[in-house]
Point group: C2
Chain length 336, copies 2
DNA sequence: AAAGCGGATGTTATCGATAACATTTCTCCG
DNA sequence: CGGAGAAATGTTATCGATAACATCCGCTTT
């Protein structure tokens, strides 16, 4: 049959239930003024036909889809990847689909291309995981009428934003090393144009200064184990280095290896604290003390901010900061 | 003005260009029968108004969106996560948006929920990263008229499928260990219901049998460093174990630590080969010999299969197998 | 020069939902 | 018991695109 090939529409349901299509629409949208009995009849018809509302039609008339666009950097870095899946999960629970638009670099033209693609799809809202400063200018282009939430963006931007409190995380890590008795703490940071890096650097520096400790020169790297290793080779040759705080766990891994090759034992000779708590961190040699970020909380917070904006709800806050948590394992000890 | 708040539609462009909306549509779709001069006028009007076609309207009338749905397990595992971002990238290059539907478990009900959500959005096609057998039955529910491609699915299913040649990868790894002089090779596999695991187990076993080596009992684990560690604690106590092939790099990491704690040196006492080549693998202690999967190739192949189906192009193959590559580092040596 | 043809363009119907308004049916109360 | 007002339901317009068909025009063809 030709009929069978086309999926049923609202009018088909209406006919079967003996009502008008509008009543079907009311049932679907939980409109209050529908008699219970009718509601049941309609539901039955929906089930019988396997009816499934056409979102395109709905989007056309309402001007809003049930789709949230995410702009993220193309990366398998643990942080961004976790954030993405957590957000998708939260959005799905709230009945939204998520369209990912990843981008090789967070520069102006790439971002506006992705944002354009999202706007083409008439997304109901946008989430931008904008962890670098260069993103800022491109984001000015996002039209004001589409709800946007930033994750990891510029805390000073004044835009709706959810972040992990990087400063607090870095303070906890640095504090932990100082408390163990180290005179000072070296820091291997991520790329300095990332907000995450900036916050961690700031927290580290502040804590040292408050403790009256000398602030060693900053070593910056990308996020990779490879650069951690290179930096580690240098640090391993410096006997005065007894405590290192790295901006993520992979950097720490590279440093662990460099120290190991040079015969410097962790934590006996050198203590080290990472950041992220990747699932493997507990199985490094030795198990890594690190700072865990609650990506799930961030994702859920971002979603609720976004939904608040969609509802035009003035009661919702516009900046949420999620506290991180120090996870103590075995990579820190009192200096020799 | 109220006018300014609503984005321009096709008729607005038509009015400005002095043509009918249908001509605008023709220009947009590169229809041949449009005079060059008209085409230029329309293009100018489009640019002037900043017109952007409404995909919802198009989807409504054509019944197809420019959206590809991906069904994947919610996970930050390196493999699946890489696959996802690679696929998104490829799809974006081809002008498609990607809607992710992740799922906590690949069981029947979760999968059909996600597939339903995708179908609601009228996706133009589906990509299912179905790495476990339990997924199979749920996938039978996908209606036949929507193009589907599987990544990592059941090689025997007869459905359009792209996979990495797990068997070949495992053979290369096992072979490499045997060639180094080991009498046999132990294998720590992933969950046995994953196709990936199954292929790797098969390749390992075959290679041993062909070489006339004894096949040690299979040790199976999940994919985590944690289980690798637990399994490693056992293996470390068995002096006859000199060569281990693990189903992924994280398992290898856990085993490395267990061996280290027990004083068994790698590769001097025990050789080990992983799978995946996560970016950190080169910085394990020691650097890990492993098998690299070309996720980018897989993603692009999957996309082209999908596009082929959409075009109803009979010329496209329906199963593509991407070869993996052995990456030799320092975790393998000749036995003592 | 009339017929015929194809290229360029316009007109109208259509997809499947919601919005806005119209109408019918209850229910309650004086 | 009649009428007001609310509840329940129906009717029609609409969103913005493409599909199908209609028309117009300029040329070739004979």
């Amino acid at each position: 049959m030709d009929k069978a090939s086309r999926s049923p529409a609202m009018t088909d349901v209406a006919r079967l239930a003996g009502v008008s299509h509008q009543t079907v629409s009311r049932v679907l949208n939980d409109h209050p003024n529908v008699k219970e009995q009718t509601r049941i009849r309609v539901r039955a018809a929906i089930a019988e036909l396997g009816y499934r509302p056409n979102r395109a039609a709905r989007a056309l008339v309402t001007g809003r889809s049930q789709l949230i666009g995410v702009v993220a950097r193309n990366s398998t870095l643990y942080g961004p990847a976790s954030m993405l899946t957590e957000f998708e999960q939260a959005a799905a629970d709230a009945g939204f689909a998520v369209s990912v638009g990843s981008v090789r670099e967070l520069d102006r033209s790439s971002i506006s291309a992705v944002v354009d693609r999202h706007l083409d799809q008439r997304v109901a809202g946008l989430v931008v995981i904008a962890n670098v400063a260069s993103a800022a200018e491109a984001l000015a282009e996002i039209p004001g009428d589409v709800p946007v939430v930033f994750i990891d963006g510029d805390p000073a931007s004044g835009r709706p934003l959810v972040t992990v409190d990087q400063v607090a995380g870095a303070r906890a890590a640095t504090r932990h090393l100082l408390d163990a008795g180290h005179e000072t703490v070296w820091h291997v940071s991520g790329p300095t144009d990332w907000f995450d890096s900036a916050g961690r650097i700031q927290g580290w520096k502040q804590t040292l200064q408050e403790a009256g400790a000398e602030v060693p020169p900053l070593l910056s790297a990308d996020w990779s184990a490879a650069e951690g290793y290179r930096t580690g080779q240098m640090l391993a040759r410096m006997p005065e280095v007894t405590a290192i705080f790295t901006a993520n766990d992979h950097l720490a891994l590279g440093i662990l290896r460099a120290l190991h090759e040079r015969g410097r034992r962790v934590p006996h000779d050198v203590s080290i604290v990472g950041f992220d708590d990747v699932p493997e961190a507990a199985y490094f040699i030795p198990p890594l003390t690190t700072v865990r970020q609650a990506f799930g909380d961030v994702a859920r917070a971002a979603l609720s901010l976004l939904l608040g904006q969609m509802r035009d709800d003035p009661g919702t806050a516009d900046q949420i900061v999620v506290p991180p948590q120090l996870i103590v394992r075995e990579s820190v000890a009192r200096p020799a």
